[in-house]
């Protein structure tokens, strides 16, 4: 049963159909959680006693930062699967995720910088988290660049999978070395609000936004995967039939 499921999901044609059915569900639930999360985050949740209203950018910033790491792990896992079992669909997932992941990383950096200007008085500090997030963005960009440089897309996907795996081994090392570097050279002059001390009225919108972003990622990655599949399989019979149907 499970084997059959994975076997079917490995077939581009089947995956294309299932993904097409799933996308609307992802989209609708993304929009619902987005509206609920934003409403509760921006209007219902109380202002922070220290930061006032400007802490609310957190409802975009924190989920985006979570997504940037989550997507990289998804890429590495699907990269491993595609290298070991040569499953075409996980290859497609790896590369479809890269751009979304890079966008979330950029979003996290940009919103963090917007928040940092009024709070810290500067757009950028070489803080450990900021620096490792920036390096994560570079890793994403490297993956995208490598994928676009290799013409044969199957080869490109496997090369990118290796790179994602090398990156995932390195991310903890990079993160801790940056943290160590920072704590040695720059005392913690900025106190971040600790997560456990967060009030439920702020935490729940945050978690809703996190779920919302995950759903968005699900929808977009499936869309991109479908586009990638059609491009890869453009010489196969079923894609040509599909195009003919669309043309009618």
């Amino acid at each position: 049963m499970i084997v059959r499921f994975f076997h079917q999901m490995g077939s581009p044609r089947y995956f294309y159909g299932v993904a097409g059915k799933l996308i609307p569900w992802f989209m609708v639930s993304f929009l619902i959680t987005l509206v609920v999360g934003l409403y509760y985050g921006l209007f219902v949740a109380p202002p922070d006693y220290q930061q006032g209203e400007s802490y609310r950018i957190m409802y975009i910033h924190v989920p985006a930062a979570w997504m940037s790491m989550f997507i990289y792990v998804v890429m590495a896992v699907s990269g491993l699967i595609s290298l070991v079992w040569r499953i075409k669909m996980t290859e497609v997932i790896v590369i479809s995720s890269a751009t979304v992941g890079a966008s979330f990383t950029f979003l996290a950096l940009a919103t963090g910088s917007l928040w940092g200007k009024p709070m810290w008085g500067t757009w950028w500090v070489w803080d450990a988290r900021l620096t490792s997030e920036l390096l994560l963005l570079f890793l994403y960009l490297g993956i995208i660049a490598l994928h676009s440089a290799i013409e044969d897309k199957r080869v490109a996907a496997r090369a990118v999978s290796i790179l994602a795996l090398v990156g995932v081994v390195n991310i903890p090392i990079i993160h801790y070395s940056v943290e160590w570097w920072n704590t040695l050279h720059q005392p913690a002059s900025i106190t971040k609000f600790g997560k456990p001390s967060m009030d439920m009225s702020m935490l729940i919108p945050l978690l809703t936004m996190a779920i919302s972003f995950k759903l968005y990622y699900g929808a977009v990655v499936l869309m991109r995967a479908r586009a990638e599949i059609v491009e890869r399989e453009r010489n196969s019979r079923w894609v040509q039939d599909l195009v003919e149907q669309e043309a009618k």
Binding site: L135, L141, V155, N170, I173, S177
Partner: protein, 227 residues
């Protein structure tokens, strides 16, 4: 082929690469010259305040070493890829990762080691106190092999590309960050006069880790690049 043991295959490949490098002596000097020139540019750019130069010295030397390593990396598999010998390595009965290790070692001997030898001179130019120079050299001898090892993965991924150079730097530089941080930190700590065992231990751990893992990733990448 089957009579050739793994050890002799390793030494043969190493000897071959060293001979090839020796025959092209003029190219050997280039990364070293680049290293010296980049380092010399920094005081010109930031001014000749001795205090300032001393403060940025370790960082400058290491960033220059990073760039020099990056510059020379592309040559690691290039000529073997062009003349097809890389495919012969893939077809040989020996594990590719071990052969890769021989090539990386040869590459380090001709590019990393000269940096190590030139470093004391540059350290003097950048006002790094004499007491810290042994630490600088230690970080270089532990760190530059890591650069070659991690770099080999990137080169293996980009060897088939026409304009691999720029992409290579994008792939590799973020991965070099830990080495840069710990190496420069060790030198800075040594300048102040505090023991640097912690940083050097971590650098050694990175060397051992990359020694084990990088050749495997490089071998897998080469197989993909040649497919």
């Amino acid at each position: 082929m089957s009579t050739l043991s793994l050890t002799s295959a390793f030494t043969l490949l190493l000897k071959r690469d060293m001979t090839l490098a020796y025959r092209r002596r003029a190219e050997l000097v280039n990364p070293l010259l680049f290293f010296v020139l980049v380092t010399a540019m920094f005081p010109l750019g930031i001014g000749n305040d001795p205090k300032l130069i001393e403060a940025v010295g370790p960082g400058v030397i290491w960033v220059a070493a990073l760039l020099a390593a990056l510059l020379s990396l592309d040559a690691m598999f290039r000529s073997d890829y062009d003349d097809g010998s890389l495919e012969q390595f893939m077809l040989s009965a020996h594990p590719v990762s071990i052969l890769v290790l021989a090539k990386v070692l040869a590459h380090w001997l001709v590019t990393g080691l000269p940096l190590f030898i030139a470093a004391p001179l540059l350290a003097v130019l950048l006002n790094i106190p004499g007491d810290a120079i042994p630490t600088l050299m230690l970080t270089l001898i532990l760190g530059t092999p890591v650069l070659s090892l991690i770099g080999s993965v990137g080169v293996a991924l980009t060897v088939g590309l026409r304009r691999g150079g720029v992409i290579l730097s994008l792939l590799i530089l973020p991965l070099y960050v830990p080495v840069l941080i710990f190496a420069t930190d060790a030198v800075k700590t040594a300048i102040v006069g505090i023991p640097t065992t912690a940083q050097l231990s971590i650098l050694s751990a990175m060397l051992v880790g990359s020694l084990v893992l990088a050749p495997l990733a490089t071998a897998a990448s080469l197989r993909i690049s040649l497919s």
